[in-house]
């Protein structure tokens, strides 16, 4: 069964994020770009399914030229081919526009499953997968942590408050994947060497009828960093615990206004 995996290039989670001069983008200088960690679960699951049942894994990204590096990462881990829709700088964070673009790419392709990360690290909207499923008129399960794929159907489970939901769905279907689903593999060095010989199809948004500048559903007005944490206050309570507790209550009420 052929699987499609939609992936995103995001800043390394260890990067120090700075805000750019225009105030509504991050400063990309010094940022290392990686495959969004949630997408790793989607890719791993697709690789496991095709290794067990046959078929090929196609990875798809919608992003600027640098995003090709994450496609190569996926190819190095074992994906068979890649599709790169070049663009996305204007539509960053616009989940609906991203979903429309992915739908335009995928609508005529042949697949049994589409797997995506539950959200992309950075914008964290957790919407593209579900929107894409609706645009392609596919059943979907969001945030899965286990999956079994049978003949024409699948069983998937997802964690909910205090328990677990188990879904059965016909194929083809779309699943958004998260931590707990599997242990993503590392790219072996031979895979890295082989990746450069695998095909990456390059597509301009206009080729698939997408106008990036039109019909934005979302606009980012400004970004700000969390406020710097002030120095903490340490109450010494060893000699007079009751007095310290009184002080704590007073501070919580008058300074922090927490109670």
């Amino acid at each position: 069964m052929n699987c499609i995996v939609c992936v995103t290039s995001v800043p390394d989670t260890a990067s120090v994020i700075k805000i750019g001069a225009d105030g509504n983008q991050i400063d990309e200088g010094g940022i290392k770009w990686i495959l969004s960690p949630h997408d790793e679960y989607a890719l791993e699951e697709a690789l496991k399914i095709t290794e067990a049942q046959g078929g090929e894994v196609t990875v798809v990204t919608y992003g600027p030229a640098r995003a090709e590096a994450v496609l190569r990462d996926c190819l190095a881990r074992g994906a068979h081919q890649a599709v790169h829709v070049i663009g996305g700088e204007e539509t960053l964070g616009d989940s609906f526009k991203i979903a429309q673009t992915l739908a335009a790419i995928l609508k005529d392709r042949e697949y049994g499953l589409i797997l995506v990360g539950v959200q992309s690290v950075g914008t964290d909207n957790s919407q593209v997968g579900q929107m894409l499923a609706e645009l392609l008129d596919l059943p979907h399960v969001a945030g899965i942590t286990s999956l079994e794929v049978g003949e024409g159907t699948l069983n998937a489970s997802r964690e909910v408050e205090g328990g677990k939901e188990i879904y059965e769905s016909p194929l083809p279907a779309l699943l958004t994947c998260q931590k707990g689903l599997n242990e993503p593999r590392y790219a072996a060095l031979k895979g890295i060497m082989a990746a450069k010989r695998k095909p990456v199809e390059k597509i301009e948004p206009s080729d698939i009828g997408i106008d990036e500048g039109a019909g934005a559903a979302y606009r980012l007005r400004s970004l700000s960093l969390p406020p710097e944490k002030g120095e903490g206050t340490l109450l010494q309570g060893e000699d007079d615990p009751a007095g310290a507790a009184g002080n704590l209550v007073k501070l919580l009420r008058e300074e922090a206004k927490a109670i």
Binding site: I31, K32, A69, Y186, A187, A188, L189, I192, M193, A195
Partner: protein, 394 residues
Amino acid sequence: MFIRRDIDLYSVDALLTDEQRMVRDTTRAWVRDRVMPSIEDWAWHERFPTELIAEMGDLDLLGAPYSDFDLPGLDSIGYGLINQELERADSGIRSFVSVQTSLVMYPILQWGSEEQKKRWILELGKGRAIGCFALTEPDFGSNPGGMRTRARRDGKDWILNGEKMWITNGGIADIAVVWARTDDGVRAFLVEKGAKGFSTVDQTGKYSLRVSVTSQLVFEDCRVPASALLPGTSGLKNALACLNQARYGIAWGALGSAMATFEAALDYAGARVQFGGKPIAAHQMVQEKLAWMFDEIIKGQLLAFRMAQLKDQKKLRHEAVSMAKRNNVRVARECARLAREIHGANGIVNEYPIMRHMMNLETVNTYEGTHDIHTLVLGAFLTGYPAFEPPGSS
């Protein structure tokens, strides 16, 4: 090259191809996930994590620069980067890979028979077999030409007698590449674990390379078949060629250690507050130490890059490898000391990686040609006078 990308002042990262960057990043990710969480514990308990060997095989970290037997065939920069990332964690982990790759697989590929290659290369590459390299003896370290270990013919077999010392992986090896004097000069033999007359004793009490097995190998009338001889070996020069391969990896690996202690010191200096609420990073003397480390590491990186280019062009002289090994290990050793000073008292405890690196580097400074021997190699290159033996000693 640094974990912190914002300090790549010379854009060394831009010298890498996408594949080289992926090789580095995949090794780094594996090290981060599989080595770093336990490294201090292994070092404290003097334990080499044999459970990681198969994982290294799965990632193709063993024998990575070779392309025979479906090995990855990395270029020299890619192989260097593997060493760098492994030694960023620990010199002992890098030593395991260096020995397996440069000192065991390399001589089998260079001078082994087809049967020997078929028997061992894939097994060693996948981490299903472990190798060691037995050259150094108790009385012959820097001067291996004086070795006493001897192999004499007995019918078609060979009989080995002698002792080898300071052998990385010795006690856990399935196969030892043993260098011995024969009537036709120094040659190498593949001696399998369990061969009659072959025994090993692990070195204990090491303060350095604690995450690595170091052993003494003893051969007492050890009989091996004719097929144990590496047929292409014809002299000590073959053993020295292996060491030259390993030194290449060490020159890159040492930079990994240097970056680890430097980046730890940079972080610590930014967080540690003394005197008037300012971090110690604001102090001129701390800045001087940080600037020295940074400067030397970048110079060492550029040296390693040029060395790699020359290696790929097959123009790399062994003296150039000596220079890079000597320089980069010296830099790493000094970085560990300066990082220790910046960490103050915290520098001595295993909550921080500094002391472990510092102790490891005492070994790295000494093995595969000591710092001083490489000084003499450069001296001989420059002047034409080899000064290894004191005047009047021969």
